[in-house]
Amino acid sequence: MDNCKGTYLKRCCTLVVTAFVLSVFYAAAEAVPDGYVEVRMPEAFVPATMNDGSPRYITAREIRAELKRQSSDFVELFWNSDIEQFIVPRHDWLVHLTQYYLTFLKSNRLRGKAESWDCENYSSLLNAFATLRIWRAGFYDTRGAIGWLQVDAKQEWAGLPAAKHALMFAITEKGFFIIEPQNGQFIQLEEYPNKKHIQEVFLF
């Protein structure tokens, strides 16, 4: 009986020591080198497609016309005139990108701070991430039909007060959307309560 106990204890000790050694080994293998951080990247870009399967595009002129139609306060659309047309993302890819962004913000503990990290920054950084994924997918002579805009909001939307604000916008196969990058809410432009007060729009 005592011999069984002794053998059992030895085996337990061996297992514990082995588990400890393995955990140290894996921790070392996973350790991030000094001066580096691990960053999870968004899903690969997926464009919306035409009936023949080719990627769908929209021009700045068409985007501008729609904004002008919807907003009485519309000032101007700013874009790089070297870009002839903008690639339309698939709607579910854009939703995933926005969810990724919320996780990125949370894991990097990014919170709003007056003037240095505000709504413009939330909107424009998500834009830039989208462009990187579009390049990664091999589309170099365009950018996404994704931008950001300034609005003098008169009504609260997506939990943010009625005030001057910056938001994302995008065109997908489902239409023209306004997106609040701070919480991932989407709304079609037609339904957006402050659509008449959209002012400057940026495709950068």
Partner: protein
């Protein structure tokens, strides 16, 4: 276990160099800054050929030339890590200048918001100037050319992302032909 794959594969998670430590300019123990409206009027005065300028109504910080350079290097390194094909291409993507300035600006503002107790932003944006005078190996051709521009210690700093040349605004050879600035 977190999967880390080498850059160049369709990586899900990548190792990224930490952002460079922010360096802003102080005077009398306070961050040196300018209002957006002042910058707008100043640029219109400095560049008689300027047709469009877009700058927010925030307060903007002066940063060191060194930190601007580090932000350039970090951002371009990050871009090439995410899109390795950039290194092999003859021409940069058409949206490169806008994306570069936006990413640099946002990374800078992330650092400022984390490290400093100031309500102000870093000013980095896009500038267009007619290429009427040669700069280094870039011959003059009279065509509009885009640059990255930032508010730094000695005024403005100009970066040509195609040739990787950097110069202060006052020494920029085509400063008299600036047509557009978007911050």
């Amino acid at each position: 276990m977190v999967f880390v794959s080498p850059a160049g594969a369709d990586a899900e998670t990548v190792l990224v160099r930490k952002l460079p430590h922010p360096e802003i300019i102080a005077e009398d123990a306070k961050a040196k800054m300018l209002y957006g409206e002042f910058i707008r009027r100043q640029q219109l005065r400095l560049h008689p050929t300027l047709k469009n300028i877009v700058v927010g109504d925030k307060r903007y910080l002066f940063i060191t030339d060194k930190w601007f350079q580090e932000l350039v290097e970090w951002t371009e390194e990050f871009f090439r890590q995410q899109v390795p094909e950039l290194e092999n291409r003859k021409d940069l993507p058409v949206a490169y200048p806008g994306t570069l300035s936006m990413f640099m600006s946002n990374m800078a503002n992330i650092q400022v918001s984390r490290r400093y107790n100031v309500e102000a932003a870093v000013l980095i944006g896009l500038m267009v100037a007619e290429n009427r005078n040669a700069w280094g190996d870039t011959a003059a051709d009279g065509k509009p050319r885009q640059y990255i521009v930032g508010l730094s210690r000695n005024g403005y700093i100009v970066y040509d992302f195609r040739t990787r040349q950097i110069v202060s605004g006052k020494d920029f050879v085509n400063k008299d032909y600036v047509t557009d600035i978007i911050f």
